[in-house]
Amino acid sequence: MNRSHSFSRGPRSRFTIVDMPKDKHLQRKTIKRLWQYVKLYPWTLLVVGLVIIFQAAFSLILPYIVRIAIDDYINIETVNLMAVAIIFASVALLTVITAFGSWLQRVLIATATGKITKKIRTDAFLKLQKLPIKYYDQNAHGDIMSVITNDVETIFMALSQVIPQLINAIIMIIGSITLMFFTSWHLTLVVLSLFPLMLLVIAFITTRAFKHFKTQHVKLGEVNGIVKEDIDGLKVVKLYNQEKAMIERFSEANDQLQVASFKAQIYSGMMMPIIRLLDNILYGIVVAVGAVLNIKLGASVISVGKIQSMTNYARMFVRPISNIAQTYNMLQSAVAGGYRVFRLIDEPDEYLNDAPANLPSKQFDVCFEQVNFAYVPKQKVLENISFSIASGKTIAIVGPTGGGKTTIINLLSRFYDPESGRILIGGHDINEYSKASVRSQMGVVLQTTYLFKGTVLDNIKYGHPKASFEQVVAAAQTAQVHDIIERLPRKYQTKVKEGGRNFSHGERQLIAIARAILGNPPIIVLDEATSSVDTRTEAKIQKSIGFLVKNRTSFIIAHRLQTIKNADLILVIQEGKITEQGNHEQLIAQKGLYYEMYALQFNKL
């Protein structure tokens, strides 16, 4: 989703939703990790620190200078134009220097935080590539996305804006109190006596506003959920005339959102006027008490200029307090974001205990020896699976959905590792060799094929960027997808939309088959590779599949038994166990599940 950027933050942005373990230890650890990144830029840190101090000192000192100008050189009796001019010139010079420093500081911060977040994003991305498939199966993809996009963005905001602001606020508070004491301790006591009241008011507003922003956030999620559900299911909404019912459901959530949003805005909108009120009350009190003291004690104790600068210091004292209150939430959410980002970066990598040696196999016979596997502990998906297939032969796996067919493929391609038992390729246990070397022996066509951004040509060449155009066309012809591609508006140069949504499932599967053909691997895995292709086209590619599996060890999972009849070995897997095995004729003769399935598909013939 779109995010607003630094220079036009919306009214919501100061209150971000925090989802963070309350554990202080974890928070500290996260801050330390962030520091590791910040530490890489010591010069930036130094310059930024100096500039912030200089800036704060200058803005604190300015009222003092103005006071001197008013008190000593501009009054009823005498005006020392020369002195005022000198003061003006020096203030102007200091202002120019501070402005330059402040510009430099901002540029340095922008550059360094840009580099830091770029590095964090890169680190997270590198982990993304190395995460086991298990991680992707178990975590919602939207959540993973949000960590690398939103959470990193929050860190960026915190580093580039909040923290400098916070440091500045702290210096301003300390500095203004000190200077107030030097100017007039009487008036300082007056200002400080109001301090607890201010804190109380600010804390009250902030917590209230935060609470309502949280509700607003939740309600917004609900509203968006309904919109998504409605748009996704629009066909059913229309076909069953559900429009009114949907509008009613939407309106209810929408009304609640309005109320929550209203309350949140009211509370957060109270912050500024109340701060201004406190400001003005302080101003009034300082001026009034100052005037009284001026008259009672004389101008030598409290001059007009002193009152004037006291009002300025009081303002410098109030503003940072509200700043701190408001930035606190942003800081918290940055720490929470950092926590999630580092949790992702710290996820165990699938290559962590990867064996260094490459699979030395020259022969590609595959053997499963008493393999057991469970995705969730104690819920066995595969139990005691043993079979072997000679090099260059074809094995087919059939059985009801959820029986464990795809799991066998997941183990063979080492997306998951078996709990016990061994898988051997050419007599070598694949767990003892690097994952990359095992996978490079395989061409896998999955049930749902993901197409990447780029052209059709890029997608067939995927993984083999050096293939020539002729080779690509040859592979496409073998996969029976060439004619389909030729009919596309820009043929092989037709752009693939995100995920391949401008291609049907069947077309995607054919492109994936072409991809696999181009790769020319010794082991071929077809996991429901033609499930969405119509039977007529399937019959046509049957020949090419025959060509593809020839002299390669092949694994075929298929619903349509027609496609696997010629396999050298057929396994029937039910509830994680091999219940039948043999070739087509043997299984038909057994009159077991295979026979039943076959009869059902070819019934009444």
Binding site: N280, V287, H464
Partner: protein, 589 residues
């Protein structure tokens, strides 16, 4: 900009006129007070300097300042209350109107706008509008008012110092605008870079299996690095521009204060008498006005960016709201008549609009056939031959490009749309399940169905067997998209929803692909017992449609290749023969 005003005018303006007026009134009060305070305090300084030492005057003025400040806080809060009423309510109405509009859009409308854009418009663009309305009161209307007010007050206070202020306004306004327009340009290209980065991330996450199998990590990382680099560089560049902003404001305002002091001291030296006394107080008031002016100039420049953003959002909102719905009721709008379920296609052609490639390819063309009421019809053909397209024309999910679709001799366009769809149950390929319960999903088929009807429908669809083993039975909770149900369970549930209304026309669009063969056979047998509706079965497998009264065969180019009974087609349709051979060829060996 125009569309922004248009949105405000859309009936909402009258509805919430009272809020708008009150918000503006309190805002004016607010600005007035902010302008009055320096004038009041000026008096105190003058009084002190006058040497009259009148304590009661100081007390009075001090109290006055506090009282005025209290009034100010009330006006500001009330201004906010009314402004928020206005902004949140207009946004709420806008969201509702947009949502209602989406319900009316046809699928060719949705295809054109894209569902992604619709989501963004309802979710994000409306928030932009809410923000811009809020900003109207915080800046767009307030800043010019403050600016003019402060200028007038400054003028009234002292004419000689006004030149400094005018100079400040010009210099500041000019430079801030310059910085912002430049940065805004960079920021607008940022969105594109951000989309690129997100797309790359989605690819890496969704294509994880492919990346691992084909070991394309390096190439993948290179692409990521490029987008990451571009995105970061753009942000840094924009922020470097913005880095000028604060220093320039501080610089200009400080120099202006200095100049005011310098000139004021000169003025004090040449003034005499009362004017000289007043001048000292004037200085502090002047500095206050100066600060107010600088703030308003700054806010105004900032707002210009938000305005251009909001205008983009407003355009998109208008685009959706103004979309001409292409599937609507005719003037005739037949309804409340008895339908027998006879269907006829006359010279039907249809093509989807392909917005990217500009090719309006015909998906189906020159289709002619007639289906007798109460019969069962099969539709078969290759992937992409237009089977789904064909059946979607019956309930008018799309309208034909050419020709006519008729039910009981009447063009489907002549029926009342709701009435037409009530006669038809169309079960989609991908089961679309809504969050709620099993019951709420079945009830979508018939709002006023009795419990028995729903149970009966579930039984016919073979859904009752899995429903009745759950603990809550028909009240079993279903998550969004039906993610807590298996594919087969979802398909059976969507079939139950279709059957509960006892449709005159039942269309099954390859809707039992995830149901296992045994259950599918039972469902088929159940459907036969109903025997009251016209049934159209779209299928991949000949076995699924072999017993149909008639079978429609589509070829690769979306033309009718055959229409008739199984045996007939076996001898007449080449496509049918090929399909048959592909499915049964081996069985006879």
């Amino acid at each position: 900009m125009k569309s922004l005003l248009k949105i405000y005018k859309r009936s909402y303006s009258k509805k919430y006129l009272a809020y708008a007026i009150l918000a503006i009134l309190f805002m004016i009060g607010d600005v007035g007070i902010a302008l009055a305070i320096p004038a009041i305090t000026k008096g105190i300084f003058t009084e002190i300097n006058s040497g009259r030492n009148s304590l009661s005057y100081v007390y009075q003025t001090g109290l006055l300042v506090v009282a005025v400040a209290l009034v100010a806080v009330i006006t500001t809060i009330l201004n906010n209350v009314f402004a928020q009423h206005l902004s949140t309510k207009i946004t709420r109405d806008l969201r509702k109107d947009l949502f209602a509009k989406v319900q009316d859009l046809s699928f060719s409308n949705v295809d054109k706008i894209t569902s992604g854009t619709l989501m963004t418009v309802i979710a994000n663009d409306t928030s932009q509008i809410q923000q811009i309305i809020m900003m109207s009161f915080r800046a767009i209307l307030r800043s010019p008012l403050t600016l003019i007010g402060a200028l007038v007050m400054a003028f009234v206070t002292n004419k000689d110092l006004l030149y400094i202020i005018l100079g400040v306004v010009v210099i500041l306004g000019f430079s801030v605008m310059k910085i912002i327009t430049k940065a805004a340009k960079i920021f607008s290209s940022l969105q594109e870079k951000n989309d690129d980065l997100n797309e790359k991330l989605i690819e890496t996450i969704s294509g994880a299996r492919e990346i691992k199998v084909f070991q394309t990590e390096t190439a993948d990382f290179e692409k990521f690095t490029k987008t990451n680099e571009e995105y970061t560089n753009t942000i840094v560049k924009a922020n470097k521009h913005m880095a000028l902003m604060d220093p320039i404001i501080v610089l200009v305002s400080n120099l202006a204060i200095g100049t005011v002091l310098l000139v004021a001291s000169y003025l004090v030296s040449i003034y005499t008498g009362e004017a000289r006394v007043a001048m000292v107080g004037t200085i502090s008031a002047y500095i206050s006005y100066l600060q107010q002016i600088i703030m308003s100039v700054m806010m105004l420049s900032m707002v210009s960016v938000s305005l251009s953003r909001a205008a983009v959002s407003a355009n998109r909102i208008q685009m959706v709201l103004d979309t001409k719905i292409d599937i609507v009721n005719n003037e005739v709008a037949l309804k409340d008549i008895d339908i027998s379920g006879e269907i006829e296609f006359r010279n039907v052609a249809f093509g989807y609009v392909d917005e990217d490639n500009g090719v309006n390819a015909k998906t189906i063309e020159n289709i002619n056939f007639k289906i007798a009421a109460g019969s069962t019809i099969g539709v078969i053909g290759s992937t992409g031959s237009g089977k789904t397209t064909l059946v979607q024309l019956i309930p008018r999910l799309y309208d034909v490009t050419n020709g006519q679709v008729l039910i009981d001799g009447h063009n489907v366009r002549d029926y009342d749309l709701n009435f037409l769809r009530e006669q038809i149950s169309y079960v989609t390929q991908e089961p679309l399940i809504f969050s709620g319960t099993i019951n709420s999903n079945i009830r979508q088929g018939k709002e006023d169905s009795t419990e028995e009807e729903r149970i009966q429908a579930a039984q016919l669809a073979c859904a009752s067997e899995y429903i009745e083993v759950t603990s809550d039975q028909y009240e079993h909770a279903v998550t969004q998209g039906g993610t807590n149900l298996s594919g087969g369970q979802k398909q059976r549930l969507s079939l139950a929803r279709a059957l509960v209304r006892k449709p005159k026309i039942l269309i099954l669009d390859d809707s039992m692909s995830a149901v296992d063969a045994k259950i599918e056979a039972t469902i088929k047998a159940n459907l036969k017992t109903l025997n009251q509706q016209t049934t159209i079965i779209v299928a991949q497998k000949i076995a699924s449609i072999i017993h149909c009264d008639n079978i429609i065969v589509l070829d690769n180019t979306g033309h009718l290749d055959g229409y008739g009974k199984h045996e007939q087609l076996l001898s007449q349709s080449r496509v049918y023969q090929e399909i048959y051979a592909s499915q049964f060829g081996g069985a006879n060996e």
